[in-house]
C-alpha cells in the first residue's frame, strides 16, 4: 500500500498480521428480507414476498465477489439489506468484524462512509435539485475533509476518472444522458474512498469503451487501496473480468458459489449452465445453437415452488427436486452448489 496515498480508504483493518488479513471485511449469514404484499381485494391474510431467502457470503479485503442471477431474484434487495438501506428481516451482517444489524441510526453513521453503493437506477438515486458537483462532493462536506477550491478540484478529478468532463460539473442530473448519470453515481460512491462498495449494475448504461475505463478504474483502486466490491451485473463477460469469486442466485437463494475460473469452466448447477449458454456473442457469425432455452413457468417469489426453486424449469429435475430443498454444500476446492443431482 502506498505511503503517500492522498487519502487512505476508510477502513479500520490496519492490514499486516496474517490473522487480520484472513478476517473477511464483510460476512453475511442467513440474510433474509421479506416484504409484506399488497393485500388482495378479498384476502385478509397478509402475504409475504421472500425476496432474499437466507443467503450467506463473505468478502475479503481487496476482493471482488460477483453476484449474478435472473431478474427479480433478489440481488438488489440483498445489496441494500447488507448496507441496511432497507432493514433486513433476519440474519447477521458483520463488517470489519462487528455486527451491524442491531446498530441504531446514529451508530450506523460511523459505517456509512465506509460502505457505499452504486445504485442500479441512477435517475431516482440522484437528487434532482443538486448539481452534479454538489452530489459528488457531498461526502467531503459530511466528513469535513476538504472545502472550497480543494473540494472542487477533488470532484473535478473524480469526474475525469469516470470519463466525465469537469466543465459539466455545474449541471443538474436531468441535463445528463443515462450513462453520464450512472457515472455521477460512481463518482459519488468513490468520493469517500470506502472499504466496501456494493456495485449494483454499475456499468449497464455505459458504452463498452467507457465501461472498460470504469472497470479498469475500479480494479486500479482495488489494487492500490484494497477496496472490496460486491459486483452485481447481468453482463457475464464483465463479471468474469472483474470478479475473484462469483455467486449465482436463483429466486432468493444462492445456488452456486465458487471462484470464477471454476464457474465458467465447470459450472455444476443446471441454472448456471443455462445462464452461461445464453450470453450473446458480439459477432454476427457466431452460432446460436449453444443456447439452452429455459422452458416452463418462471416461478414467483410470492409463491415459490416447493423443493428446489429451479425444479419447474430444470431440464433434469426428478421427484426429489420437487419436494426437498437442496442445501448449499461444498463439493471440492470450496465449490459450493445447491443441487440434488450434481
Amino acid at each position: 500500500m502506498s505511503q503517500h496515498a492522498p487519502q487512505e480508504p476508510q477502513s479500520q483493518a490496519s492490514g499486516g498480521t496474517a490473522e487480520e488479513s484472513a478476517r473477511p471485511l464483510l460476512e453475511v449469514t442467513d440474510l433474509v428480507k421479506s416484504f409484506p404484499l399488497q393485500k388482495g381485494l378479498f384476502s385478509r391474510r397478509e402475504t409475504l414476498v421472500k425476496a432474499v431467502d437466507g443467503i450467506s457470503l463473505y468478502i475479503q479485503p481487496g476482493e471482488t465477489l460477483g453476484l449474478v442471477g435472473e431478474s427479480g431474484c433478489g440481488k438488489s434487495t440483498a445489496g441494500k439489506s447488507i448496507l441496511r438501506l432497507i432493514e433486513p428481516t433476519s440474519g447477521s451482517i458483520r463488517f470489519e468484524g462487528s455486527e451491524i444489524t442491531g446498530l441504531s441510526r446514529t451508530e450506523m453513521r460511523r459505517y456509512r462512509q465506509r460502505m457505499q453503493i452504486i445504485f442500479q437506477d441512477p435517475y431516482s438515486s440522484l437528487n434532482p435539485r443538486m448539481t452534479a458537483e454538489a452530489i459528488v462532493g457531498e461526502p467531503f462536506v459530511i466528513n469535513g475533509t476538504s472545502r472550497g477550491r480543494e473540494r472542487q478540484q477533488r470532484v473535478a478529478s473524480l469526474f475525469e476518472r469516470v470519463g466525465l468532463r469537469p466543465d459539466t460539473m455545474g449541471k443538474y442530473p436531468h441535463e445528463f444522458s443515462g450513462g453520464q448519470r450512472q457515472r455521477i453515481g460512481i463518482a459519488r460512491a468513490l468520493a469517500s474512498m470506502p472499504g466496501l462498495i456494493i456495485c449494483d449494475e454499475p456499468v449497464s448504461a455505459l458504452d463498452v469503451s467507457i465501461q472498460a475505463q470504469v472497470i479498469n478504474l475500479l480494479m486500479d483502486l482495488q489494487a492500490e487501496y484494497r477496496m472490496s466490491y460486491l459486483f452485481i451485473a447481468h453482463d457475464l463477460a464483465v463479471v468474469e473480468h472483474i470478479s475473484d469469486r462469483i455467486a449465482v442466485m436463483y429466486l432468493g437463494r444462492i445456488v452456486e458459489l465458487t471462484d470464477k475460473r471454476t464457474l465458467f469452466t465447470n459450472p455444476l448447477h443446471p441454472y448456471t449452465e443455462a445462464l452461461l449458454s445464453a450470453v450473446p456473442i458480439p459477432d454476427p457469425a457466431a452460432g446460436r445453437e449453444r443456447r439452452i432455452i429455459l422452458r416452463g413457468d418462471v416461478p414467483s417469489p410470492i409463491d415459490p415452488p416447493p423443493g428446489c426453486h429451479f425444479s419447474t424449469r430444470c431440464p433434469e429435475a426428478t421427484g426429489v427436486c420437487r419436494v426437498e430443498t437442496p442445501v448449499l454444500t461444498e463439493r471440492f476446492g470450496g465449490h459450493q452448489v445447491a443441487c440434488h443431482l450434481r
Binding site: Q38, S71, S177, G178, H234
Partner: protein, 350 residues
Amino acid sequence: MENSNAARTDNSGETLRQSECVLSLEDLKTHFITREGLVKAVDEVSYHLDRGETLGVVGESGCGKSVAALSILRLIPQPPGKIAGGKILFKGRNILSLAEREMQALRGNDISMIFQEPMTSLNPVLTIGQQISESIRLHMGYSRKDALDRAAEMLTLVKIPEPLRRLREYPHHLSGGMRQRVMIAMALSCEPLVLIADEPTTALDVTIQAQILELMVELKEKLGTAILMITHDLGVIAETARRVVVMYAGRVVEEAPVDMLFGDPRHPYTMGLLASVPRLDRSALAARPARLSEIKGIVPSLHELPKGCFFAPRCPHADARCHSGYPLWDQIRPGHKVACWYSRQIKGEA
C-alpha cells in the same frame, strides 16, 4: 388482437415493397440552450428505418442517441431544448410539422418507445395495472376490463410471474428488470409500426433478454414493425440488427450492414469500440490481459466542438488534415459509409 388495427399496417392499399422506408431522419439538429452555452446534442443526424427491419444505434455515452430518439416522438422539453433544423419523416410525412393533437395520436400508437430509464416514464403513484391498461385503452380502444386482461397477458409475455398480483403493485415494488419489462409490455401492447427501444435490456439477465429479443422479432415478423435498437451491448446488436449506425459527439460517423461493422469497421472510433468489448468466448480466462482496452482521452465539449473531425483529439491516426476539416462521407460499399479522411488507409487495423 389480430385484426384490431389491420388497416393501419397496410397503408391505404398501397402494396408494400420489401424495403419500404417508414421512418427517416434528415439532417436532424436538436440543441439545448444552457447556462454554459449552446449544446449541440444532435447535429445533422440522418438515418432511416425500413419496414420490418432492425436498425442498431451505438455510440459513446452522451453522444445523442436518446436525444435523437426523443426528438422523433417530440418529447424534448422546449425550452431548454430546440429542434433547430432537419426533418423527421414518418411514412413520408414530416412529424415536426404535425399539430400536437396529431402527434398524440401517433405517439404510443404508430410509434412507441421503451425508455432508457424506466422510472422516468412510469408514474410512481399508479399501479402497474392502471398504467398498462390505461395505455391500451387509449390506443387500442379496449374496455376497462379487456384492457386489464390484455395487460395481464402482456406481463406474461414478458415473463413476469403472477401477473394478476403484479398488476396491483406500484413501480417501486418491482425489481429493476421487472420495471424495464413493464415498460416493454406497454410499448409492445399497442402493436406499433415503429418501436424505439432505448437500451431495452440493460436490467435483464441473459436468459430473459434472449426471450424478450425473441418477442420483438415475433412482433416484427407478425406486424412488420420496424425497430430502432439503441444499445451498448454489441452482442445484442450482432444478434438483432440488420444495419448499424455509429454515433460520436452528436453525429453519425459510420453506417454499415451489421456483418461489415464487425468484420470491416472503417472509423477509428468504431474500431476502438469493438476492441474494448470484454468477451467470454475469447477470454480463455488465463490468457486475457489484466486490463481492458479503452479509448484514450475524453469526448469534446458539446458546446466547443473542435474545428475538424470531432474524434481527432483522441484518434491515433489523426494528422493536420483531421484537425482542420470535418471529414466528408466516404461510401465504402453499398450501405456502408464512413466519415473519416483516412477510411481507405487505416482499414484492416481493427
